[in-house]
Subunit: 198 residues, 2 copies
C-alpha cells in the first residue's frame, strides 16, 4: 500500500490527539472504518461543530458554545462564591468531583513572567471588575500547587483583599488513599503544619 491516500491521511491526522501514536492511530482508523462508521461520522460532525462554535464564556472564560456558559447562566448558582482555576478542564473536574454550587473564573494559565504570561493574559482586570462589583463574598483559589500556581493565588488574594473579599485556598496535604511512606517530604511538611482539629 505504497500511497494509500485517504486512509493514510486519516491515520496521520488521528495522531494529532494527545497520547495517540502511529500504532494507536492505525488501530483507531481500522476500527472506525470496519466496525463503527456511524460513530466515526458522528465524531466528525461533533468535532467540526465544537472546533467552530466553542469559545470562552463572556463571564467566566470557560469553554462553551453559548455567549454565557451554563454555570454562569444558572440562576440556582450562588454569585457570592467564586472559584478561580487555571484551566477550563480544572473547572470541569472540580464541578464533577464536588458539590460546589458557586461560580468559576478561568485564568487560562498562571503567572509566568519568563513565558510572557502576566495579568493581562489571565483576564485579571475582568476578575477585578467582578470583585469590585460587590456581589462576591468569597474567592476560592484553586490554582495548582506548583510554584507558579501559588504565586498566582497570592497575587489574586491581594487583589481580593483590596476589595474586602475573603480569599480561601483549597487544602494541600496527603491525597486520600495515600500512604505516608510514598508522599514527598514537602507535601508531608505541609500536611503536618496544616493539621486540623479531629
Amino acid at each position: 500500500m505504497q500511497n494509500p491516500g485517504l486512509l493514510k491521511e486519516l491515520i496521520q491526522s488521528l495522531t494529532c490527539l494527545p497520547g495517540v501514536g502511529a500504532k494507536s492511530a492505525q488501530r483507531m482508523a481500522f476500527y472506525l472504518l470496519q466496525r463503527n462508521r456511524e460513530g466515526g461520522r458522528h465524531l466528525a460532525s461533533i468535532l467540526e461543530r465544537a472546533m467552530a462554535q466553542i469559545h470562552h464564556c463572556r463571564d467566566c472564560r470557560t469553554l462553551t458554545e453559548h455567549e454565557v456558559c451554563e454555570v454562569c447562566s444558572d440562576p440556582l448558582r450562588d454569585d457570592g462564591v467564586l472559584c478561580v482555576v487555571e484551566t477550563a478542564a480544572d473547572a470541569w473536574l472540580l464541578d464533577q468531583a464536588t458539590r460546589f454550587r458557586g461560580k468559576y473564573f478561568v485564568l487560562h494559565g498562571r503567572l509566568s513572567p519568563l513565558d510572557g504570561i502576566g495579568p493581562d493574559q489571565l483576564g485579571i482586570a475582568q476578575l477585578e471588575r467582578r470583585l469590585a462589583a460587590g456581589q462576591v463574598k468569597e474567592i476560592i483559589l484553586a490554582t495548582n500547587a506548583t510554584l507558579e500556581g501559588q504565586a498566582t493565588a497570592h497575587f489574586i488574594a491581594e487583589i481580593a483583599s483590596r476589595h474586602a473579599v475573603l480569599s480561601t485556598r483549597i487544602a494541600h496535604g496527603v491525597p486520600m488513599g495515600g500512604e505516608l511512606e510514598f508522599i514527598d517530604s514537602s507535601t508531608l511538611a505541609h500536611a503536618f503544619n496544616g493539621r486540623q482539629a479531629f
Copy 2:
C-alpha cells in the same frame, strides 16, 4: 457545568475510539479546544471524508477510496503472488514490514460457522475466480495462527490445489527477540518441529 452541551457531546463522542475512556476523552477534548483547533478541524474533515468515501477495493477487498486500490492498480506489482489476510489492517502491516511486491486478498474475517461466517462472507467465490483465471502461481496464506485462522488457511489451500496453485503458509515459531523461557509450549513444539537448515 451541569449541562455543558457541545463540550460534553464532544467528550462523549471521543469515547467511540478504541482504547479511549472518559478520562482520555476529556484530555483530548480540552487539548484540541485549547491548543490545537487547527488539528481538530483537519481531523473532523478527514474523518468525515474517510467515513463517506472509503470502501472495499473491487479486486482485493482492502480499504480504499478508489474503485481499485493503489496496490491492485500498481503495474509494478506481481500478479503471480497473492497474499491472503484476514483484515485490511493485516495487509497494511505486512506491506509496511516486508518487501512483498505481490498483491493481497482481504477476507474480512475467518471461517467461523458458530458466528455464521462462511465462505460467502469471506469472498471465497471471488478468490476462486481469481485463482481460476490462471495468473496466480503462488498463494501465501497469512491468516492468523488461531484455530479459526488455521482452518481458513486449510480451506483456501484446498481450493488452490484444485486450480494447481502453490499454497505457502507464513512461518510460525519463536518471535524475533523472544526468549524460549517465555514462549508457550505449543509455539515451542511448532518451532522445534519446523526447524530449518542453518
